[in-house]
Each structure stands twice: as C-alpha cells, then as structure tokens.
Amino acid sequence: MMKNKKILISPKNIEEIKKYKKIGITNFLFALQDFSIGYPEFTLEELYELDINVYLNINILFDTKKINDFKKIIPKLQFVKGIFFEDVGLYYLLKDSNIFLIWATAHFVINSISINSWLTRVDSAKISNELTKGEIEIIINKTTKPLVLPVFGYNEAMYSRRMLLTNFNRYKGYKMMKNGLLSTNSNNEFNIIENANGTILFYKKPFNYIKIINNLNQDNILFYYIDASKINNFKLEEMLNYNNSEEKFLNKKTIFKLEER
C-alpha cells in the first residue's frame, strides 16, 4: 500500500497544499515559472515560504538563452529539495551542485540499463508512462536506486517548440486561446496547452496505476507521483478509486514494425 510520506504530488495551487499536509503528504512537485510547460506554474518566491519539501519540475528543453536565464537563478535554489529535469544540459549545469537531481526526460526513461547508467550520475529517475506493467516491474526490480513512479495524472503525448494555437488562430483570424481540446477521427482526445515555451499535448483521460503498485518492489520506489494539478477539488480517495482511467500501454505492447500487427 502507498504510504503518504512516499507520495509526491503536484497541486493545482498553493492553497491546496494545506489539505495535503493534513493527511501527511509533505513532498510536492511544482512547475517553475518560465522553465516549464503544461502545468500550473509557481515562482521561487512563493515556494520559498512553504514548510514542505519543494521539488521543481523543469520540463522544457533549453536553448542558449533559456539556459543562461536559468544560470541566474541557481543561487536562489538552496531551499529546493530536488529538481526533475528534461534537458540533459541542465544536469550538466547542476552536476556539481548539492541539489538532488531526478532524470525525467519524457519518453526516454523506459529501460533499466539506461536508467542505471543515469543513476551513476543522478539521484533518481522518473519512469515514463508508455510502458507495460511487465516493463515497469523489470525496471523497478533492476535499477540501482529508488525511482519515481507516476501513479495518477495525465500523460504527455507531444511537446513542440511551435506556438501551435497562436499560429492557427492567427491564420484563421480567431480569438487567441492558450488551451483547448484536440480530437482525431479515431476518437482520441488530447488537451492542448501553449505558453511561451511552446505547445504540449496531454492525453485527455487520466491514467491510474494504483492497481499495479502492490506487485512492485516498494523498497525501490522513492515516490509515487500524483499529478493533481489539472483536477478541480481533487480528493486522494477519489483518485485511489478512479475507474475511468486510460490503460493504453499498461496491458498492451506497442509495435513498431508493421508485420507485427
């Protein structure tokens, strides 16, 4: 069973933190303003005051300007417990600091060998979501340090540097919008969110991997990660019992050669 002290949660706003603290959750993951995409953003100033363990989600790829901007805030990161990073350049920049680093490159944290290679350099890794139950078990069993396992949230499906909504709205002369819902003719739906760093798509239905965690080696899980930032009035019990989740990958391997169909 998931212990609350092992839960890492992304809240929707600062106010929500109190209710999580009441039930013993002390670890929180925040998207940092100007250095993230697709999540509610927080400033270092507003996080500094909180009596919790603050982890930062830096989920963008850094161009030269962005990495230079980030260098300027490094002295202000002393209170931060750890950083989840997408860009390996950020690892290289912070490798000699004392900051707890978690490799979290979207769609790349999918095999035990690469994870173990990274774990010789960093403190943990956040497993990507597009894996089968069996693959998750293998990774948890074979890796050399405890990992972060996302158990509830919305999976990233695509991240672009382009301003896809702005460009389309300009082309059509529509009113500007920064988020919306995309669907394909095969009835797959994606939330689309744009900010100055680009555009990101999330699968519309949340995933719920709570059901598989009892079979996993609990000792090798650092955190169970819950993204509650996109749900109104989120309650932990509701999440635990959420049945209408997507299981696109959990029980079905993806193929890549057409003869495998």
């Binding site: 030269t64 991240y159 382009r162």
Partner: protein
C-alpha cells in the same frame, strides 16, 4: 570544409547518393533504427555499402537511434561489434546505454548523438562529449545563436538538418502515434499523426474548428546555407531514407552546387532562387526555412486548406547510356515529342532541351513515352552521362 550528408534507404539510393556528390551517407539496419518500416540494409548489404562508399573516399554512418525498451537490447552488442568490424565510420545514437556499450566494447567507430536527443545548448553537447560522442546532430529547433554557442563552448562537430520532413514536436518528444495507432514512434513506427486533421474545441468544450492542423511545412534551408556554415555547422544533412531516387538526386544536386559555392564564397543568388523553386516541387509538400533565424509562425505551418498538393510527375527518366549520339533513357513518367525538359546530373548543372525525337528499343520512331520504365532513345548530341536525370521543365534557370 563542410560535409553534405545524404540518406539512403537501399543500395540503389546509396549509389545515387555517391553519384550525386554526397560526402557521407547514413543508412539504417534491419533493427534499432527509426525507420522501422523502410527497406533498410541487411548485414550483407551493409558490407557492400561500406565497400562502395569507402572506394569513393566517402563516409558511411548507421542509425542506432531508437529509444530502447529493455527487450530491445537483445542482440545489440553483436550488432555493434559487427558494425565496428565492417568499418562503419560512425553510428547515430540517442540512448546513453548504447554509448556506454560502445565505450565498454572499445569500438573504433565514432558516436554521433542523434537529433532524437534534441540538443539545443552547449551543456547538453558537453554532456554527450564526456560520454565519447564526437558529433552532435542538433535539434531541428536550434537557432543560429544556439549553434554558435555550442560550437564555441563544446568544441564538437555539429551536424544539422537542412532539408526534408519536420516533426511538429521536438524529435523524440512525441507519442501521438503510440496513442492513436499503437505504433511506437521512438522505435521507428511513427504513423505521422501530426499530419492528420484534428478537431479543436475550446476549454469549455465548444467547437472552434473541425479542421485544425499542427503539421509544419518541410524544411528547406537553402537561403541560409552560408550563415549556417559560418555559424559552425560542419555536416549538412538531408532527411529522407524513405524518399525516392529522384528526390535524393534533386536535393543532393542542389545542395552540392550550393555548398561548393559556399566553399568558394561565391553564392549565386539567381541559382538560389531557381533551386528553391525546383526543391519545392520535388516532394509533394511545400518547404520553408525553419527556426535557424526565426521561430516559426503560421507561415511555416502546413494548413492544408491553403495549399495545393503538388503532384510529382516531373521526373521523366534517367539516363542509362550516352554513346555515339544516342541517349538511352529509362522512362519514369509520361512525356512526348515537343515537350520542354531539363537534364541535370553531377557534371551538368541544368540543360534545357526540347524533345525532337523518341525511339523505342527496336529503333522504331514513337511520339510518346507512356509505359513506366520503358527504355527509349533520343538521338541527339548532348553532354549527358549515365545517372543524369530528365525532368519536366517547369522553371528556367
């Protein structure tokens, strides 16, 4: 010095790439490559490819750039040893486990970091350099200042795409294909969902548009080649291991001439304008420069309602022989007497010609060439060589 890097999906295209002036060629094997459904190269074909390429003093690279699941590592060590043994010059890699394995095996072949790794900054390049990489293939999103900074601070060979298809996403950061078709994009199964038509609703679930697109135009960096070279890019890469022979020949021919002009510091703007038009027609999608100078706007997006898809009937034939004033040609698309055509090839920039005679294989005079791959002859004294291409004359130089 700069390098023109061509794709090749099979041995025939590899020969064409050599013929049309590529300095180096990249291919994929039957496994571990991001074009899982291309023909790709068998072990024997890779051995042959090495011989062909090295005989012309060129280089051969192999993509090993899938993002690995645990099960995919089976056979990888033997595969890498094989590539090293047959003399492959470099592999293109995105997963650090492959870099580690190359180091452990002490392989001679060089390791280049694939664009899948989406490198945009010098720190990322330095990270991979510490793992033994000698070149980085930049993210297609890299801007001029990124290139300069990486060159200056990481001091590593830089490769950049200059022509071909673009992902809407950063490479490797998309699993739309996994969701929609169950085909794994990061293992070579991408179904190009970004080119599909979407429905867009606002956050209140109200319909905005039934025809929403996220696809971009293809990449075409012709007009910025000089600046790209000046910024520190060494290898100019053409995308398209699944493209046709005609496409490869046309694109290589254009960039070869242009890079030679860059080398001599003599860019001919008239030529640049001409090949921009030619390149826009040789695939069926519109092209545009992307990212290097400016972030893409709506002008660089591919909104289908605004664009006429170009039919690709321009490729008329390939010269097989030119002997005693008789040019033998293998037909690829319909043409007839009086058609205005152009020949181009490694030794011929662009030759305009109006067809005055056509003969079939039995030397009968005919009016039209209308059977795919039929062999025809044109009796004319023209400076053509085997491998030269004949296309419809759409634009004049």
């Amino acid at each position: 010095m700069v390098e023109l890097l061509s794709p090749a999906g099979d041995i025939e295209k590899l020969k064409m790439a050599i013929h049309y002036g590529a300095d180096a060629i990249y291919i994929g094997g039957q496994n571990y490559s991001l074009r899982a459904n291309a023909k790709n190269f068998s072990y024997d074909e890779m051995k042959e490819a090495v011989k062909l390429v090295h005989a012309k003093d060129k280089k051969l690279y192999v993509t090993v750039n899938i993002v690995f699941h645990d099960e995919d590592f089976v056979g990888l060590e033997d595969y890498l040893l094989f590539l090293d043994e047959i003399g492959i010059d470099a592999i293109m890699v995105s997963d650090i486990a492959v870099l580690d394995l190359c180091n452990k095996l002490n392989l001679k072949l060089e390791r280049y970091i694939s664009t899948q790794a989406s490198i945009l900054n010098s720190k990322a390049a330095l990270f991979y350099k510490t793992l033994g990489a000698t070149r980085v293939v930049l993210a297609r999103e890299a801007m001029e200042e990124d290139v300069k900074s990486i060159k200056k601070e990481a001091d590593i060979s830089i490769e950049a795409f200059v022509h071909g298809a673009m992902c809407t996403s950063f490479s490797g950061r998309c699993i739309l294909s996994n969701y929609v078709t169950n085909r794994d994009s990061n293992r070579g199964g991408c179904a190009q969902i970004c080119r599909w038509n979407f429905t867009l609703k606002d956050k209140n679930d109200k319909l905005v548009d039934n025809n929403f697109w996220i696809a971009s135009k293809d990449l075409n960096m012709i007009e910025y080649i000089q600046d790209m070279a000046n910024s520190g890019i060494y290898s100019f890469k053409i995308e398209g291991r699944m493209r046709s022979t005609y496409y490869i020949a046309t694109v290589l021919h254009s960039y070869r001439l242009l890079l030679d002009m860059v080398k001599n510091n003599q860019i001919d703007e008239t030529y640049v304008e001409f090949i921009k038009k030619v390149l826009n027609r040789c695939a069926n999608r519109e092209t545009a420069p992307q990212f290097f100078k400016n972030h893409p706007t709506e002008e660089e997006q591919y909104y289908l309602s605004n664009i006429e898809e170009v039919s690709n009937q321009d490729f008329l034939g390939i010269v097989l022989e030119n002997k005693n004033g008789i040019i033998t040609i293998e037909q690829r698309n319909y043409f007839k007497l009086t058609d205005e055509v152009q020949f181009f090839g490694p030794n011929i920039d662009c030759l305009n010609y109006k067809i005055t005679n056509i003969y079939d294989e039995k030397d009968n005079e005919i009016q039209i060439a209308n059977h795919p791959q039929m062999i025809i002859k044109i009796k004319e004294d023209l400076p053509l060589s085997p491998g030269d291409m004949m296309r419809l004359k759409i634009f004049d130089k």
